[in-house]
């Protein structure tokens, strides 16, 4: 009997320790996001995003534009064209001078008007706190006069207007007390609370210049685990969840209250060849490897159809994207090209030239789970034509590539090629000899001089022509093999209406977003 008492005693301890005195709190009806919007509950959504910002400072983080808190002078529309936003209009006075007319009647969340002086003060702070933005915008001086603001750049800088789309160029009230936690912007939503790494709570700004938001409240939450994001959508803890992992897509598609939105992103997954290595300097070897990439299979099977096959760095929907067909998977032609390059199959069935077999080291990294799979797939296809590939998985890919330039022959890589709708960025970072994303030391004189011309050309039509020509050179010389443009995959609750994700992934919470 005493022993049974003991059992009861421990069960009691167990429950007390568990904090079950709070059981009433636990079992109380869960207020689901989906249940809001009916009756007297305010209309709201919860958006779940993968990357948590370090703070809410709009000049160092992107989240404030994404969450509809701040806005920039210009934005890109769904066709990735530059459109007025806080600036009503602009003109380029000369190569270095740009004048903007700030929209009348726009106020910050604290009610103060947005004029030239406010924009000037915001930009001065932005380039002071963000070294990246300082180097991006190359601003020498800013002058304000009424609703006008005039920027002078240090050099002739035609890309200035498109770089103003950068989220860190947000216009904010610089006199706000706690910019890192509660920035005061001009967007449709204002911050009510912020917990770093966890969530931002927002309420609509009643004085929004472009029409007050349909939603009264919104929450942006952060979670870096794809499975948790997907589960949160299924449990209705989130209404919109970004970057749904491939394995969860089917479950969401089958759900009767959820849908998947999938659109090609501005990113490209590709293989970068190391120009430091003698083998890779031979264009025929690069072309042969390019033909061993089975793009349709990668897009369909490896990425479950949530990727578009690539024919160059830029999506063909862009004005400077190439209309050319993708390189077909053709092992026979690849073999012929290698033979033209002086290789022959040896007794072991391996490609050999001057007594050296064609053995290549392919670096990859786990950061984007599909990249190591692509590496394995290429390894299998390359072995069919006698190329040996040794895959090395590295942790910090950029550091590895730059610090070990004699070790690797090729790498699976991924870059946002048109972050602000202008391909000039990718040409500059990936092809100039001393560029920051050119660890393969690509040095093509024709491409370099084209980039120099591009960097001083203002006319959009000529710029697009130049970029298209650049793409042609890339297709001929194959410094990289572009594989796919991965899609942005977003899980959405059916109650969310008037909303679609954009390829630019900048404007997530908008004034038109609504719920049923």
């Amino acid at each position: 009997m005493k022993k049974y008492n003991l059992v009861l005693f421990f069960i009691a301890i167990f429950f007390i320790t568990m904090g079950c005195s709070k059981v009433s709190e636990v079992t109380e009806t869960k207020t689901k996001a989906s249940e809001e919007g009916t009756g007297t509950e305010p209309k709201s959504v919860t958006l779940l995003y993968s990357f948590a910002p370090g703070s809410l400072d709009p000049h160092t983080e992107s989240i404030t534009v994404r969450a509809g808190i701040t806005e920039t002078l210009v934005k890109i529309d769904e066709n990735l064209e530059i459109k007025p936003w806080l600036a009503e209009s602009w003109e380029q006075i000369d190569g270095k001078t740009w004048r903007f007319k700030v929209r009348e009647g726009v106020t910050f969340h604290d009610g103060l008007p947005v004029d030239g002086e406010a924009v000037k003060a915001s930009f001065e702070r932005a380039i002071e706190v963000s070294k990246a933005l300082q180097s991006l915008l190359k601003i020498e001086s800013i002058e304000a006069d009424g609703q006008q603001v005039t920027f002078k750049t240090t050099d002739e800088y035609p890309a200035f207007i498109s770089e103003l789309v950068h989220t860190n160029a947000s216009v904010i009230q610089v006199n706000a007390e706690n910019i890192e936690h509660a920035p005061i912007g001009t967007g449709p939503f204002k911050v009510t609370s912020y917990i770093q790494d966890v969530q931002i709570q927002l309420e609509r700004f009643e004085g929004y210049w472009d029409g007050v938001a349909k939603l009264e409240k919104a929450t942006v939450k952060f979670n870096s685990d794809g499975n948790v994001r997907s589960l949160s959508l299924q449990s209705k803890d989130a209404d919109i969840a970004y970057h749904i992992p491939t394995e969860s897509i089917e479950i969401i598609e089958k759900s009767d209250f959820l849908r998947i939105e999938s659109i090609p992103s501005l990113r490209a997954h590709f293989i970068l060849y190391n120009n430091n290595k003698a083998t890779m300097k031979d264009v025929k070897v690069r072309q042969a490897l390019d033909m061993l990439i089975n793009r349709p299979v990668i897009a369909k099977d490896l990425m479950n159809g949530h990727a578009t096959e690539a024919n160059g760095p830029f999506n063909k929907n862009l004005p400077f994207g190439s209309p050319k067909e993708i390189t077909a998977f053709d092992p026979d032609k690849a073999k012929a090209l290698l033979e033209e390059a002086g290789y022959h199959l040896n007794a072991k069935g391996l490609m050999e030239k001057d007594g050296q077999t064609l053995s290549l080291k392919l670096a990859t990294y786990q950061g984007r789970p599909e990249l190591p799979l692509m590496a394995q797939y290429l390894l299998a296809e390359a072995s069919l034509v006698g190329i040996e590939i040794d895959i090395v998985v590295v942790e910090n890919v950029d550091s590895y590539l730059f610090e070990n330039q004699d070790e690797w022959d090729m790498v699976t890589y991924s870059i946002l090629t048109t972050p602000r709708g202008d391909g000039g960025y990718f040409f500059n970072v990936a092809y100039l000899p001393a560029a920051s994303l050119n660890p393969g030391q690509i040095d093509n004189p024709e491409l370099t001089s084209l980039i120099e011309v591009l960097n001083t050309t203002s006319d959009q039509f000529t710029r697009n022509e130049l970029k298209s020509r650049g793409v042609e050179i890339i297709q001929e010389q194959v410094p990289q093999s572009f594989i796919v443009y991965p899609h942005i995959v977003v899980g959405v609750n059916e109650r969310v209406i008037n909303w679609k994700p954009g390829a630019e992934e900048y404007y997530l919470l908008t004034n038109t977003l609504d719920v049923k």
């Binding site: 709070k22 950068h166 449990s235």
Partner: protein, 313 residues
């Protein structure tokens, strides 16, 4: 007693000094470049000249020993520096994470202690009976299940299937339940077995038999006599694992978007945010040494033989 405390504090300074040297060297040897993190924000065109000028500005081009010396000088002035990434003082960054981490740790410990006490004691009392086998089975299962999987299963069951607990809520007891169970269940397994072994040893002691002979009730024997001495190894192990519990709950923190120290430091490691990593190591070092000091002192309370300086039986 005071002598012991002072001796321990002396040891603490030495341990932390060694810890700073090891971490500083390891961080510098590991591949990765904080300059990338600082400049490569949202696809901005950066040239090598700009990278190198920032490197000079931050004195990263100086020899390691000088960098280490500079950092140590600031530490003496209680200045842990600023995070490279957020530009916030390291003390503020760490300070803002202490309470959430403590709550999570306490939640995890409550679950662990509850389960370990229940399973460990039942297993010892009903040795080799079905309840002991069940406890062993649960202990093996608990120790083998990876935390991230357990967390996902918890969310699936309690948030998606039964819809009784939130997957991603912050604040309040409700939001602590799933993370605490995920953290505590795995740990409980080991402690339950440890407690069972300790209790069985206690039960074999003569003073327990003497207590039974005096007619003292079974549960009182357990609570007053057996459990106290059985807790000594449990508390020792707890002291040793407290540090890792503070920083090691990172998987749970990532799964449940919990703003704790573990997540902060793992992000800092990936971004090579040296000041934050160093500050964290220093902080954890101090906490671990303090906890061990408290653990040592607690023996004196739990086991009178230690208090009175008597050994053996």
């Amino acid at each position: 007693m005071i002598q012991i405390i002072f001796a321990r504090l002396g040891q603490m300074v030495f341990v932390i000094f060694m810890l700073t040297i090891i971490t500083f060297s390891l961080m510098k040897l590991a591949p990765g470049d904080p300059i990338w993190t600082m400049l490569q924000v949202d696809e901005v065109i950066i040239t090598f000249e700009e990278k190198e000028s920032l490197r000079e500005e931050l004195l990263f081009d100086q020899p390691i020993l000088i960098q280490y010396g500079n950092w140590l000088k600031n530490i003496v002035r209680l200045d842990l520096g600023k995070s490279f990434v957020s530009q916030q003082p390291v003390t503020k960054e760490i300070g803002s994470r202490i309470m959430p981490t403590l709550f999570l740790t306490m939640g995890g410990l409550a679950v662990m202690m509850g389960i370990a006490l229940l399973l460990g004691s039942l297993a010892a009392i009903y040795q080799n009976r079905w309840i002991d086998h069940l406890s062993r089975l649960l202990a093996f299962a608990g120790a083998s299940v990876p935390t991230f999987w357990l967390g996902l299963i918890m969310i699936y069951l309690f948030s998606v299937k039964f819809a009784i607990l939130p997957a991603l809520e912050h604040g309040g007891i409700k939001s602590l339940i799933l993370p605490s169970f995920t953290l505590g269940l795995g740990l409980a397994a080991v402690y339950a077995r440890l407690l069972r072994a300790g209790l069985l040893e206690s039960y074999s002691q003569e003073y327990i038999r003497a207590a039974r002979a005096r007619g003292i009730g079974e549960w009182q024997i357990l609570r007053v006599h057996a459990l106290r001495s059985a807790l000594v190894p449990v508390i020792t192990m707890f002291g040793m694992s407290f540090g890792s519990l503070l920083g090691g709950s990172v998987v749970v923190e990532v799964l449940f978007s919990y703003p704790g120290l573990g997540k902060l430091v793992v992000d800092a490691v990936f971004k090579r945010d040296y000041p934050l990593i160093q500050g964290y190591v220093l902080f954890t070092g101090v906490v671990v040494v303090f906890v061990n000091l408290i653990v040592d002192l607690s023996y004196r309370f739990l086991d009178p033989r230690i208090r009175y300086g008597k050994g053996g039986h």
